[in-house]
Symmetry: none
DNA sequence: CCACACAATGCACGTTTATGCACGTTTACA
DNA sequence: TGTAAACGTGCATAAACGTGCATTGTGTGG
């Protein structure tokens, strides 16, 4: 991280707490490269200001509620995080990556490395909010009328904004995946947008939880071979995986949780 | 790199701080080829002008880039909610309202009536997220490169998107308010956007907490008479309120908490 | 041309602050 | 109930701090 100003460290810890994240003293000590004593002093000071609640092993935010991302990430949790970690290995420093809407791409935000100077583009509100919490990343928001179901902008303006980006890589969530029927989505507008996104990206990755293979969805996005890489969970059926590979798609297996 | 003018050095340091970068005294001393004493004097001067926060080892930007909106979100809770409730009474059914970035407009989202079939437009990520949680509202998101300090899109694309909206009413937060100096903002791009927003709206309302009257900010947005209505907190100084009214602005007092 | 004010700087001094380590105590968990 | 980790406290150290003072360079008025 950047400058080792003591108070800056304290601010960063305070920011995490204000964000609703609990902090662990030992972890922070390693992360900031100082002894646990120093961290404990910080936490004590913050607690004295009423900015957190001191507990054995670390500290908790004084307002424990309300933290949309972390809550969701915890709950849907380990599986999507594992997919996200695997997908994050594909990203190269300095790239402009586009994150599609959905909880799996959302998990990817927290898995992206800090030091890569990435630019993240998205049309999804919750993903933008998550990126905003990551210091080192630039954020480009696509505007338009927001579809309340998808949680992101989805209209002609959005498509137009997409066309103005030089995307290096995109990550999609899909409603349904099959080697024979390709990718499908629940909503027509969402499918159309994903189709444009695939066309606009020289390299596209789809994050797939195992249940997506058995799912059906009405709107065809593209054939599977339009995607360069699929990230699969460990319990994905081998038959489907082999079929995707036979189409020329590369596969990435997430580590078992 | 360096002209030897001392003031030029101070300006460069100020520029970095305005950019959100923390600075380390020892590093700056080596970089500019002067003693740490000189740097410390600069930092002290800048801090005295309110342009940074002095800390042990260097200085931090007064609005740290890394803990953007989340930290200041709920600090003045009840007060801002009271302002929001007062402002919400101005809204008419079916309108397209634009919400500026800031914690006060954010509070307004939850105060808006459900049954009015409103369309809310914004360029701020957190406000969009809040609107998304309200069922009966339509949401229009303005896109563009997102300013991490403001927490919303702020570039030419955003301005263009604004021009394509038929806004009925807009609600602004301001960094500083004064009858004589008008509205001011901390950041140039933010000020420019607010200026466009005022021009694009037939009716504009500014939500003002009492501390905004004593605050200073470098970038002038518009004179106070460019705003139709100010919503004031109960403890706002009467002198300032009278001065605003003398300029032809209507006032709305929030109920005491 | 000189004297002087003035601002910026570097240096020396004593003071404050943050840190790490050592010690004994408390806490969580098996 | 026992154990290991986390805790708080005291102390020593090094870095950063503020202040006062001498030096330098520049511009101005006598």
């Amino acid at each position: 991280m950047n400058a080792d100003l003591p108070l800056a460290r304290r601010d960063q810890i305070a920011a995490r707490l204000a964000d609703g994240q609990p902090v662990v003293a030992a972890t922070l000590a390693r992360e900031f490269g100082v002894s646990e004593d120093a961290i404990r002093r910080d936490l004590r000071a913050l607690a004295a200001e009423g900015r957190c609640r001191r507990v054995y092993g670390g500290a908790l935010p004084c307002t424990p509620a309300f933290s949309p991302v972390s809550a969701r990430a915890e709950q849907d949790g380990p599986l999507k995080q594992a997919l996200a970690r695997a997908a994050a290995t594909l990203v190269q420093p300095g790239e402009l990556i586009f994150l599609d809407s959905g909880s799996t791409p959302l998990a990817l935000v927290d898995a992206l490395p800090d030091e890569f100077e990435l630019t993240v583009a998205t049309h999804a509100i919750d993903i933008a909010a998550a990126v905003l919490r990551r210091p080192g990343m630039k954020l480009v928001m696509l505007g338009g009328c927001v579809d309340p179901v998808v949680g992101g902008a989805l209209d002609a303006t959005t498509a137009q904004g997409l066309a103005q980006l030089n995307i290096d890589r995109c990550f999609l969530g899909a409603c349904a995946v099959s080697a024979s029927r390709g990718l499908s989505a629940q909503h027509a507008a969402d499918a159309a947008f994903k189709r444009l996104l695939l066309q606009a990206s020289p390299h596209s990755t789809v994050l797939v939880t195992a249940d997506k293979f058995s799912a059906r969805a009405p709107h065809r996005i593209a054939p599977a071979e339009a995607v360069q890489c699929f990230v699969l969970s460990p319990e994905a059926p081998a038959a489907e995986a082999d079929a995707l590979q036979a189409l020329g798609c590369s596969l990435l297996r997430a580590a078992a949780t």
